[in-house]
């Protein structure tokens, strides 16, 4: 009621009802699967289109207001189209006293948008959050999963430039998003690094792969954040491969599934502590690796 005047009618994006029904079929019969369904729709479109929510309500036989209420309740869901890069600037207490409001103001000024808005070219969306849990590094902002710490007004411009450039074309060693890793087999602990084959000036990771009754080597870039792959046989796009340790011939698997495509994830031990998991599907988000517990 109080909100009515503020509502902006945005142009409707075309929604494919078949796609929504596919997502619903995937979660069929799940108890309380609504949030998972909405997450999948948001992954697909970048936000929750109105028509998609109507289709969900219709197919699930639930009132639309329930779906809408859930979508509006959680901060991770957006009903408005979002830009390619989402900037979450922290306005928590610690960041606030360290000058976060000035950072938000500077971001607003440089992007020429207000908080919770998207730039005209659909590049950036600016959001504020109440705490990112990195108070000692404040003021903090997170852009596309990468944390920018101890921000000052002068650091806002490089932040935007780095975010716009994405992960491609950054200089190794200068950008913290790309760093080299040494990995070993979780079973026999033999190193998987191959000094005889270099990718991007770094020793590659060698594993044995098996797909379509073919076995051969596969070499991965050992730079976290880079997805270059060389293999004996051409692995077709979006096919799932099995990877084996070339030393003990154990299959490198884990009980984890890729959050993007659902394929099993391959787990390797990082020298110096930590685990890296990569999706076993060729071309899945460029085989995005997940770094966990890295010390």
């Amino acid at each position: 009621m109080a909100d009515l005047g503020k509502t902006t009618v945005h142009e409707r994006e075309p929604v494919d009802p078949e796609l929504i029904r596919d997502i619903l079929a995937k979660h069929d019969g799940e108890q309380g699967g609504l949030i998972a369904i909405l997450e999948d729709i948001q992954t697909e479109y970048g936000f929750l289109p109105e028509d998609a929510l109507r289709t969900v309500a219709e197919s699930m036989g639930r009132p639309l207001i329930d779906i809408y209420g859930v979508a509006r309740f959680y901060h991770c869901f957006s009903l408005k189209p979002r830009g390619k890069h989402v900037i979450s600037a922290c306005l928590g207490t610690a960041c606030h006293v360290r000058g976060a409001p000035a950072i938000v103001e500077e971001l607003e000024r440089q992007l020429k948008i207000r908080v919770d808005e998207t730039t005209q070219d659909k590049e950036f969306t600016l959001k504020t959050v109440n705490c990112l849990g990195a108070c000692a590094l404040g003021p903090v902002a997170v852009v596309d999963g990468r944390t920018f710490s101890k921000l000052r007004r002068s650091k806002v411009k490089p932040l935007l430039e780095q975010a716009a450039a994405g992960n491609d074309g950054v200089e190794i060693g200068k950008d913290v998003r790309i760093f080299p890793v040494d990995v070993s087999c979780p079973r026999c602990n033999h190193s998987l690094m191959d000094d005889s084959f270099f990718i991007e000036g770094r020793p590659s990771i060698r594993v044995t792969v098996s797909f379509n009754h073919k076995h051969g080597w596969l070499r991965l870039a050992s730079l976290y954040g880079r997805y270059n792959v060389y293999s004996e046989y051409e692995v077709p796009q979006s096919s799932v491969v099995e990877m084996f340790c070339p030393h003990c011939h154990t299959e490198l698997t884990s009980s984890w599934q890729c959050p993007t495509c659902g394929a099993p994830m391959v787990q390797m031990i990082v020298r110096g502590g930590g685990v890296v998991r990569i999706c076993s599907r060729r071309g899945c988000c460029g085989s995005r690796s997940h770094m966990l517990d890295l010390i």
């Binding site: 009621m1 109080a2 909100d3 009515l4 509502t7 109105e50 929510l53 009132p63 639309l64 207001i65 329930d66 779906i67 809408y68 209420g69 509006r72 309740f73 009903l79």
Partner: protein, 225 residues
């Protein structure tokens, strides 16, 4: 049957009865705002607060949602309850002074001032309309969205809902949509007209309660003797 003690009286009620129903059953009045017979208890307005437990470990609960328990000791009008209830009403007044229901509550509980920042919200989020729409009208056209201070009531996407049959049930139960009586001081947060202006009944012979045309005016009850 469950036996509980309300204001020193033992009451036997059936299992599943709420404290509010039990208290009203034996005649102790508890004011309510977001409660309505036929709708599920919600506990949003906190006007129906009562004190339960034995001294010194007592606590305040909303009686409309608290189920009667064996041996429960309830006080519906202890000083703590009255004080807290006044505060709750004062806070309601701070957000929605135009509501006649809240103004009536304020004057019947002697709330003469409002010390908080005055707002003029058109919704107190009591949830009566939402429950009316889904439980009695079976439409489920309106509901809450957002959270925290952005929590608001409305239809999905704030456009006309296809589920709505425009029965008007939500407007009928809304305590905030009704306009308060326009007492002389229009901008004062506390209307208190019934409380401050002596109605004719006080100067003449007292009406029988049932006959008073000013009902639910409480002027005669709170008038200084």
């Amino acid at each position: 049957m469950i036996t509980l003690n309300i204001n020193g009286l033992n009451v036997s009620v059936e299992e599943g009865t709420t404290v509010l129903e039990a208290a009203r059953f034996i005649g102790f009045p508890i004011p309510t705002l977001c409660h309505m017979d036929g709708l599920s208890p919600y506990g949003a307005c906190r006007v129906c607060l009562v004190e339960i437990g034995k001294e010194p470990r007592t606590k305040l609960v909303s009686s409309c949602t608290y189920p009667a328990e064996e041996g429960l000791v309830v006080r519906t009008a202890s000083s703590r309850v009255v004080r807290t209830r006044r505060m709750v009403i004062e806070l309601l007044l701070a957000s929605c002074p135009q509501s006649k229901v809240i103004q009536d509550l304020a004057s019947s509980h002697g709330v003469n001032k409002q010390r908080f920042k005055q707002e003029h919200d058109d919704c107190i989020l009591c949830g009566l309309c939402v429950r009316m729409c889904s439980e009695q009208m079976m439409a489920k056209a309106i509901g809450f969205s957002g959270r925290g201070n952005e929590r608001a009531l409305g239809t999905p996407f704030n456009v006309k809902s296809e589920a709505c049959r425009q029965c008007g049930g939500c407007i009928y139960v809304c305590p905030a949509c009704q306009l308060r009586c326009s007492y002389t001081e229009k901008d004062s947060p506390v209307c208190g007209g019934c409380q401050n202006l002596p109605p004719p009944c006080l100067e003449k012979e007292k009406f029988d309660d049932m006959m008073c045309f000013m009902s639910p005016c409480v002027a005669c009850e709170i008038a200084p003797k």
